[in-house]
Amino acid sequence: MNNRVRELRAANGWSQAELAERLDVSRQTVNAIETGKYDPSLPLAFAIARLFGEPIETLFNPDA
C-alpha cells in the first residue's frame, strides 16, 4: 500500500525517530511504513492521520 507518510514527515521537518516518538512506536516501524513494507493497523493509521491533520484516505492508497 502506498502512503504519504514520508512526504508529510519531511514537510513537518521531523526525523523518523521524532515521528516514532509522537506515535509511540519504534523507528523501525515508521521506516517499514514509509517504505511500504508494513501496512499499519487501523488505530495506528488513524493516529498518523490525526497527527498530520489529514483524512486517512489521503494518506494511504490501497490501490497503489
Binding site: 516518538e21 509511540d24 519504534s26 523507528r27 523501525q28 521506516n31 517499514a32 513494507k37 495506528l44
Partner: protein, 135 residues
Amino acid sequence: MARPTRTPHRLRGCLIASLAYLATTGLCVWLLRDVLSGAPSGLRAVVSLLPIIPIGFTIREVLHLVRDSDELQRRIDLESLATAALAVGLACLSLGLLVGADVVEISGKTVLNWVFPALSVTYLAARVRAQRRYR
C-alpha cells in the same frame, strides 16, 4: 522519547539464559550420575529440576519482549515463534518417524532435553530473518 527498543537487551538475556540452561543441564547430569547416584530421590528430583531456573528467566524475558513491543515488533515475534514452533515440531516428528523405522537411535531423554534450546535458537534465527525483511 520514542518507544524504547530494548530488543537487543532482551535477546541477549534470552541467549545468556539458554547458555545457562545448557550449563546447568550438564552440571545436573554430572551431579546425578557421579555425585548423587545413591542420594534420596527427593534430593535427586530437586537437582534434576535446576535447569528450570534459567528457563524461567528466558520465559520472563520473552514475555517482557512482547509486552514492550509495538505492533510491527509483535508481528515479527509472532512470525518468529510460529516458525520456531513449526520447525522444531517438524524436526521432532521426523526424528520420531526415523526412530520408529529403526533408521536412527536416539533416547527420548536426549530429545526432550534438546527441545527447549532448539526452540530458543530457532526463534532467534527466525527473528533476525523477519526483522531484516521489514528493515
